[in-house]
């Protein structure tokens, strides 16, 4: 799909990752590679560990075993402590955009300030340059005219598009989406999907957790089915959604296809 020559080099690598919450092992040895410019979707039943996996990638969850790499740099560093690790992880996270189910826009800041806060404070960008960059990102999600409006005045779909613009403003190497459209009214889903599709066309590397089967099938280069903390099956989306090998995948799809919840 991509025309770039470097698409066979890994951007995100997840190697044998284990994660426990107390006695409950939620990730049981996950392996996964997202190559540069590729889009991978993860589907699976509730509680299968999809969010935990995505959150582990940018270290919002601390994994117990294994390794996660971004563009060849190890994200989790059990050998590093305190401030040194904090500096390391802050740098890593500046290169990863994360989009949450509930948007998590900053309500005390206007739309444009939501988008420019990180470039200004973390990259030392001056106000004017940051505003230009911010407007560019807002245009990208079709919300330039909402620049000076506060998040509370936006619809859910608009909020999520601003959240995407906020993440894009840091020029991330990869975008992580955790059910970006599940909190939205059905009629607002498409505007967010449209933005995600346009990112796909720009060859943004993306790791997408979703309950939207048809969207996942459309947009991704590779698809994973997770259940019980393991990757049950992975293949091209066409195969996964029409002719999966595993019984568990088939059962899941039977329940969920046609009814996107």
């Amino acid at each position: 799909m991509s025309t770039e020559q470097s698409t066979d080099t890994p951007m995100v690598e997840v190697r044998n990752v284990h994660k426990r919450f107390g006695d409950l092992e939620v990730l049981k040895g996950i392996n996964l590679t997202v190559n540069r410019g590729k889009i991978i979707s993860i589907i699976g039943p509730s509680g299968s560990g999809k969010s935990t996996l995505l959150r582990s990638v940018n270290h919002l969850e601390v994994i117990d075993e294994g390794a996660i790499l971004l563009d060849g740099v190890q994200v989790n560093r059990p050998d590093m402590k305190g401030l040194a690790f904090e500096r390391h992880i802050n740098n890593i996270r500046q290169n990863m955009g994360m989009v949450f189910q509930h948007f998590n826009l900053f309500p005390h800041l206007s739309t444009i300030d939501n988008v420019t806060l990180a470039p200004r404070k973390l990259k030392g960008m001056d106000k004017k340059t940051a505003r230009e960059l911010g407007m560019e990102q807002l245009e990208r999600v079709g919300l330039a005219e909402k620049a000076d409006v506060f998040p509370n005045w936006l619809s859910g779909g608009q909020k999520q598009r601003v959240a995407i613009a906020r993440a894009l403003a840091m020029k991330p190497k990869v975008m992580l989406f955790d059910e970006a459209t599940s909190a939205l009214d059905p009629e607002l889903v498409e505007e967010v999907n449209r933005v995600m599709r346009s990112l796909a066309e720009e060859h943004m590397t993306m790791l997408i957790v979703t309950h939207e089967m048809s969207f996942a099938r459309d947009v991704s280069d590779w698809a994973l089915f997770m259940d019980g903390g393991v990757v049950v099956e992975e293949c091209t989306p066409d195969k996964l959604f029409s002719n999966p090998d595993q019984e568990r995948t088939r059962n899941f799809l039977q329940k969920h296809l046609g009814n996107n919840h």
Binding site: N58, L60, E86, R87, N90, N91, R93, Q94, M96, G97, M98, F100, H102, N104, L105, F106, P107, H108, L109, L117, A118, K121, L122, F150, N152, W153, A163, R166, A167, M170
Partner: protein, 217 residues
């Protein structure tokens, strides 16, 4: 009973001076108690127990003892060792007292900012303390405005307690005038009216500020 407001008019400049002193104290106390309360709240939530527990004890101490006792303690108690001007003691005493109450508010509102806000900020690359500074505290502050306003309105009324240690605010300023004119009722009526006006003004200000920030919550 026949009212005679003539002495009140005669001594009105003295009363206004009292309002001036009271206002000065109130502004100093507001700044001290809001900034200090915020710092106390942040430290008591985000630092280790050895630091946060003494602070929580401080809050508890000031919230469970009477203001007048705290002022006497500072003025006469500490006065045994060092001589501090009454107005400074008054500002410190009221300041610490309301710092404790404001810290209590900030602790609740800081905790009410959702984890999602913290995570969103961290995911952009902000560090722990930068997240507190740029994301958590401003949101908590906006949420605190209604209760902070109430506290500050109570505080302004409490400046009258400082007359007990000789700070020349409104009530204290009236005492000499009353003692020579024998017209306490008239004076207290006018003073009550002055407090009432200040109160109304503050409530208007609070309502305005709340309106100005409601959509940012």
């Amino acid at each position: 009973m026949v009212f005679d407001f003539a002495p009140v008019i005669t001594y009105f400049p003295t009363l206004l001076k009292g309002v001036g002193v009271g206002s000065l104290v109130a502004i100093a106390v507001a700044l001290m108690s809001i900034i200090g309360g915020l710092v106390v709240a942040v430290i008591s939530i985000y630092t280790k127990k050895v630091v946060s527990w003494p602070l929580r004890f401080f809050i508890w101490l000031f919230m469970t003892t009477p203001l007048l006792l705290q002022l006497y303690f500072l003025y006469f108690g500490l006065g045994e060792w060092i001589l501090i001007p009454a107005i400074v003691v008054g500002i410190l005493g009221l300041g610490f007292h309301y710092m404790a109450y404001n810290a209590d508010i900030f602790i609740a509102t800081i905790k009410s900012v959702s984890d999602g806000q913290y995570e969103a900020s961290r995911s952009l690359g902000f560090g722990h303390w930068n997240t507190i500074l740029y994301i958590i505290v401003p949101q908590a502050f906006i949420r605190s405005i209604p209760q902070l306003g109430n506290n500050m309105i109570l505080m302004v009324k409490d400046t009258s307690v400082l007359s007990a240690i000789g700070v020349a605010e409104l009530v204290y300023a009236s005492q000499y005038a009353i003692s020579v004119s024998f017209r306490p009722f008239e004076f207290f009526m006018v003073i009550a009216l002055m407090y009432y006006v200040i109160n109304i003004l503050m409530e208007l200000g609070q309502a305005w500020l709340e309106r100005r920030t409601a959509y940012r919550r």
